[in-house]
């Protein structure tokens, strides 16, 4: 595929995105450094397991739906989660591949991207519906939750529309403009929203793994403690 676009769209697709990306990275650096300024008191009790193995185990449990009861009991939810997040990755990926590596976006690859965008769009709608109708979800939903999921869902739809025109040889369309304007907005907005859970979740998971790994709850087969804080 080729990506012959107007100079204005080129500006939006590249320099503007780089600036927005740099802003997002800066915000995350500030956010994480502020977070790490707080104390991280270690556990001093006798080790009963392996903290390092526990941390790895915990970090990778996103790939092991059987390891967590919530996903073990609800495989449909896990599949939905998986498709949705692959959709997120591919939609964001498309905003890099289209301007930078258009030749990689063959018709087959583009269609795979579009399938995931379409599925993620449907899952997004379901998630909005779930947030509105399931009492235990509705009560905990904040305006940011609704805004974020709505924005993502629209983003998938716009991405799908832009790509469907793009594979037909129309790279410089209104859909594409909206797609990249939304991407820019995302890069600026995400550090301040719940969507940034993807950056913060390793901290929580590693902490969980260190605690429960060290106490011998995770990685039950590990005999020798790997690290002793004293």
């Amino acid at each position: 595929m080729e990506n012959h676009v107007s100079y204005a769209l080129h500006i939006l697709e590249e320099p503007v995105q780089y600036l927005a990306l740099a802003f997002m990275a800066l915000m995350y650096i500030i956010k994480i450094s502020q977070m790490l300024k707080k104390p991280i008191p270690p556990e001093k009790a006798e080790l009963k397991g392996d903290r390092v193995a526990g941390a790895f185990d915990s970090l990778l449990n996103v790939l092991k739906p059987w390891s967590m009861e919530s996903t073990r009991n609800n495989p449909y939810f896990y599949i939905e989660f998986l498709i949705f997040h692959i959709g997120v990755a591919l939609t964001i990926g498309a905003t890099f591949f289209i301007p930078l590596f258009p030749s990689l976006m063959t018709l087959t690859v583009s269609k795979i991207f579009m399938i995931f965008m379409g599925l993620a769009f449907l899952i997004g709608l379901r998630r909005i519906y779930r947030r509105l109708t399931v009492p235990e979800i509705r009560i905990i939903s904040s305006p940011d939750d609704f805004f974020a999921i709505t924005l993502m869902t629209v983003f998938f739809a716009v991405g799908f529309g832009a790509m469907s025109l793009w594979i037909k040889g129309s790279p410089d369309t209104g859909w594409m403009w909206i797609f990249f304007l939304m991407t820019t907005f995302f890069l600026l907005y995400v550090p301040f929203s719940k969507i940034s859970h993807y950056v913060l979740y390793p901290f929580g998971r590693i902490n969980f793994g260190r605690i429960f790994g060290g106490r011998g709850v995770l990685n039950k087969n590990v005999k020798a403690p790997s690290w002793n804080p004293k």
Partner: protein, 442 residues
């Protein structure tokens, strides 16, 4: 939303204390706790939660209250901590009273929800922060606060005076000697292999458990001691009320009592929360490099006695049994397998609960909830219908649990739901099945 009204419970600890609160006082405490006492994980947890609600199905309160969203773990955090953070300079006393009700009486800080959270968020820790704020504002249910006052004044949970303690030990030694000639409760013996500590309800209302351990120690020929002075009580309700200063004092006394007697290790009786306080929360609050003396729970100790042959099993317990796995030693310490092994060694007919091990449901009594006393008993028992159903499904007649809170909580569930079962500590099973050499018998 058409949710049923939460029954109003009169608790002087909250009803009276709320009258002394002012927005300024609340604001000062909230800002101090949030700014200077919370760790990095507090920020991580608060910023990572995506409000997915997957923790809800982990909570026995939520499941037992017909999926009322106010009882879900994240629902409790929303009703308390999120509001505290959002309007921390304009919080009213009535709101703080609600916070205390939710954090102290409707969450067992059992951490089952952490097992469900995709991000590993320790929701119990967040509710402990709420408890800490409430405690600093003296908004603690009266019965729970009374146990903390007792800790603070007498260094034990139940206002047991030193002469009562010593007298109870002498009484139980006599009882034990009536069964086994060599049974003793050695007081203040220096250099013993085992410093044995119990929780205060044992001398107060379950003294026979001390007599039992005297017999077990005699049969196993363990070199052991108990202190005649403060530090014998290993329980710690201050850990759950949010009075961490008192929690630290209690833990320090406990460890220092063992140190004073130059014991080689501490063996703690069958209690989950006490172990949590002594092994984890206490040393962490005190900032110790490590607990000064090795410390094990009774389950570890019985496992050692049975697997090394110091206690031999004469006959297996025949009545069908199941187990209540205490959160603080199974989910919190990974002792589930050892607990299964000692049950397998002593019981013939065991049915595991489902779910089990670290995924088992809490008894509903832990985390200081049972210590909130009679005013909150109805809501507590109602809040654990799933546990009653789970236990009934095992069709066992006896529920074994190596934890005092579980023991009392399960008793309430048995009577509340008319299960027709009985609950026993593991030591009670062991007393029935261990081999006692003839020459030891009185």
């Amino acid at each position: 939303m058409g949710l049923p009204a939460i029954p109003i419970v009169n608790d002087p600890g909250l009803d009276e204390a709320v009258k002394d609160l002012t927005p300024e006082k609340i604001s000062n405490v909230v800002n101090r706790i949030i700014d200077s006492e919370t760790a990095a994980r507090f920020k991580v947890y608060m910023k990572t939660c995506v409000h997915c609600g997957l923790c809800s199905d982990a909570c026995h309160w939520f499941l037992s209250n017909d999926r009322d969203p106010r009882f879900s773990p994240v629902g409790k955090v929303k009703q308390t901590l999120w509001e505290i953070i959002k309007r921390k300079d304009s919080l009213d006393p009535a709101f703080l009273k609600e916070c205390s009700r939710i954090a102290h009486t409707e969450c067992n800080v059992c951490r089952r929800c952490s097992m469900y959270c995709p991000f590993g968020i320790d929701i119990a820790y967040l509710l402990m922060v709420v408890r800490r704020i409430c405690s600093e504002l003296e908004m603690v249910p009266q019965f729970l606060q009374d146990t903390v006052n007792s800790h603070s004044v007498t260094m034990n949970q139940m206002w047991v005076k030193q002469d009562e303690w010593i007298d109870t030990l002498q009484w139980q030694e006599e009882e034990a000697k009536g069964e086994i000639k060599t049974a003793r409760i050695p007081l203040d013996k220096e250099g013993a292999d085992v410093f044995y500590s119990v929780i205060a309800p044992e001398p107060k209302i379950l003294a026979q458990l001390i007599g039992n351990i005297a017999q077990i120690m005699a049969v196993a020929k363990v070199d052991w001691t108990m202190p005649s002075f403060d530090g014998w009580d290993n329980s710690n309700m201050a850990m759950f009320s949010g009075d961490f200063e008192t929690m630290g004092r209690v833990e320090r006394y406990h460890h220092e009592a063992a140190q004073k007697l130059k014991a080689r290790r501490i063996v703690m009786g069958e209690c989950g929360h006490a172990f949590r306080g002594a092994a984890y929360d206490g040393p962490r609050w005190l900032g110790w490099r490590q607990p000064p003396i090795p410390l094990i729970h009774a389950v570890d100790f019985y496992h050692e006695l049975i697997t090394t042959g110091r206690i031999k099993i004469a006959r297996k317990f025949k009545t069908p049994v199941t187990v209540q796995e205490p959160c603080n030693i199974v989910r919190g310490r990974g002792l589930g397998q050892k607990l299964r092994e000692i049950i397998a060694a002593t019981c013939e007919d065991f049915t595991p609960p489902d779910p089990d091990f670290e995924h088992n449901y809490c008894c509903g009594a832990g985390g200081g909830v049972i210590n909130c006393g009679p005013p909150w008993k109805t809501s507590r028992v109602k809040g654990n219908r799933v546990k009653a159903e789970q236990l009934a499904d095992t069709k066992a007649q006896i529920i074994i649990t190596p934890c005092h809170n579980c023991h009392s909580g399960i008793e309430d569930i048995i009577s509340g739901y008319k299960l027709g079962m009985h609950v026993k500590f593991f030591s009670e099973i062991l007393m029935e099945v261990m081999e006692i050499p003839d020459e030891m018998r009185a």
